[in-house]
């Protein structure tokens, strides 16, 4: 394992310390229990998210005006514990309450569930949404269901804009649920990722292999397939995403061409070019787009594509000012 780290147990704490010091104007660090929260919290619905570390800039990179109020980082690829969410809720939830944004993983769901129970017991008003946007996973009530991946950043942006507008908790939750219903994603990996505590990659790929349908935890995907060109990779992802969304000609979308952490921008933009071409072929307008390493899996090289069906309301919320470490415009 070759990583720029010190001792393995210190990875998350040290990274959070560096992050908080770099962005002192935006965030405040609470060391124990560990969470990061907005430096100044206005009187509005507080969006609280969290999850395993290793997906940076998700979630802490999205704390700030127009997005999250707080983020609770777990160990690498391990959901945080309820104490963290409870303490963060106590800090940022005002009279308007808090919305938990949870990626659909058994661990995340259970830990946020416990936190919500504890928060309710303290009289804090909390609602929860769970995002599962990965079409690589079959959706069924018999399984853990679809996992939350790249679409999470689109969700946090739109729900954050709704909270910043002053909507009440039900209103913000409805915006969030609208995003969850209308966003789909799929990803692939060119290389694996190594959890620091594990020391070796979860999977290793040959020079001519791709892992298709990966999540964001360095876990293997649905299938191992032969290496493809960038254009073919995009086709392999965008097809299932657009089909599952049942995208129709004439519709507008917000599209995220996302790198898995170790993907150079040069390659992401090559992929993005094809994303836009294929959408155009389908008669779909990419009304807004975002390209970069936003929802990552440590140093993994790979790509995910997220598509959100967007009407005027969604576009307005997308365009609303945002000022966070990783996403900024309009202010």
């Amino acid at each position: 394992m070759k990583k720029m780290i010190n001792a393995v147990p210190d990875v998350v704490r040290e990274a959070c310390e560096g992050f908080a010091a770099a962005h002192a104007d935006l965030v405040t660090l609470n060391a124990e229990p560990l969470y990061l929260s907005r430096a100044q919290m206005p009187d509005q619905v507080a969006l609280i998210s969290g999850g395993g570390s290793g997906h940076e800039p998700l979630h802490a990179g999205f704390i700030g005006r127009g997005m999250l109020a707080a983020a609770c980082p777990g160990e690498v690829f391990t959901s945080p514990v309820p104490d963290q969410m409870l303490a963060a809720t106590q800090r940022v939830a005002g009279k308007k309450g808090a919305l938990y944004i949870v990626k659909n993983y058994t661990g995340d769901v259970m830990n946020f569930e416990l936190a919500a129970e504890l928060a309710a017991a303290e009289g804090l008003e909390v609602q929860t949404v769970v995002i599962g946007d990965d079409v690589a996973v079959q959706d069924s009530t018999w399984t853990a269901g679809r996992r939350g991946v790249g679409g999470t950043v689109l969700l946090e942006k739109l729900a954050g804009a709704a909270a910043e507008e002053g909507r009440d908790l039900n209103g913000v939750r409805q915006v969030a649920e609208g995003v969850i219903q209308n966003v789909r994603s799929m990803g692939l990996a060119l290389t694996g990722a190594t959890v620091p505590a594990a020391g070796t990659p979860n999977f290793t790929l040959g020079a001519q292999e791709l892992e298709l349908g990966i999540g964001i935890h360095g876990e293997p995907g649905r299938a191992r397939v032969p290496m493809m060109s960038a254009d073919e990779m995009v086709e392999a992802l965008l097809g299932p995403v657009a089909d599952d969304l049942d995208l129709k000609r004439g519709e507008e979308v917000i599209v995220l061409t996302n790198g898995m952490g170790g993907t150079p921008l040069l390659e992401l933009y090559i992929a993005h070019r094809q994303v836009l071409r294929l959408l155009k072929d389908r008669g779909v307008t990419a009304a807004r787009n975002l390209v970069g390493n936003y929802v990552t899996s440590l140093e993994m090289q790979g790509l995910s594509i997220s598509v959100l069906r967007a009407g005027p309301e969604q576009l307005r919320l997308w365009d609303a000012p945002v000022m966070t470490a990783a996403l900024r415009w309009g202010c």
Partner: protein, 206 residues
């Protein structure tokens, strides 16, 4: 000879030792069909459990303390699951200064029901339940704790033949076949620790 709070403390220390020894193996199992954190997570948990063990207190208090450590330090799926199991076991023993065989079985049954409530899985879904269920069945058949632990180990081993329907491994679909479920493996260690620590007090080692 009944099981005391001290015996349960001993059980938790044995569990810690076994987890410490097997953490890399558990992580390896999790790397194959999950996200490579089960070993480190559960090790963080048992270390916290032992560090926080109350010197005083009855069996219920010991298990409750362990539950809070699991919930507060592990994260992921296994933290709330083990935490809930210990919490329910603790509740089942409330007020009892010592435990007989029946008490212990009731507590473990309550823990198992907690796992199911929290995780909404069932036996056969390729989870830790697949170690617990055969172990509890053995106890119900009147077998010893050691036999139950063997059943847990066999159950964990047999998860290789299951397709995961719950937890992270479910994303792999059929590709989850041929691998041991990491949570079932750590649960087998839990049952093994119970057997090693409590067979004596229960009078099953004679």
């Amino acid at each position: 000879m009944p099981v005391t709070a001290d015996d349960l403390r001993h059980f938790l220390r044995v569990f810690q030792e076994k987890i410490q020894a097997q953490a890399p193996y558990l992580t390896e199992l999790d790397a194959a069909i999950g996200d490579a954190d089960h070993g480190s997570g559960i090790e963080r948990g048992v270390n916290a459990v032992v560090a926080a063990l109350p010197a005083q207190g009855d069996p219920s208090a010991v298990l409750k303390s362990a539950a809070m450590s699991f919930i507060g330090k592990v994260g992921g799926a296994s933290g709330p699951l083990y935490g809930t199991a210990f919490l329910r076991a603790s509740a089942a023993l409330a007020g009892k200064p010592e435990l007989g065989r029946e008490d212990l079985r009731d507590a473990l049954e309550a823990g198992y029901r907690g796992l199911i409530e929290r995780g909404k899985a069932e036996a056969g879904d390729k989870t830790m339940l697949d170690a617990w269920r055969p172990a509890l069945d053995a106890l119900e058949r009147g077998e010893t704790l050691r036999q139950a632990a063997q059943a847990a180990a066999a159950g964990a081993e047999a998860t290789t033949t299951l397709i995961a329907r719950k937890g992270r491994a479910s994303y792999l679909g059929e590709r989850s076949l041929g691998h041991i479920d990491p949570g079932a493996a750590s649960s087998a260690l839990l049952w093994q620790s119970l057997a090693e620590a409590l067979s004596g007090p229960l009078g099953e080692d004679t």
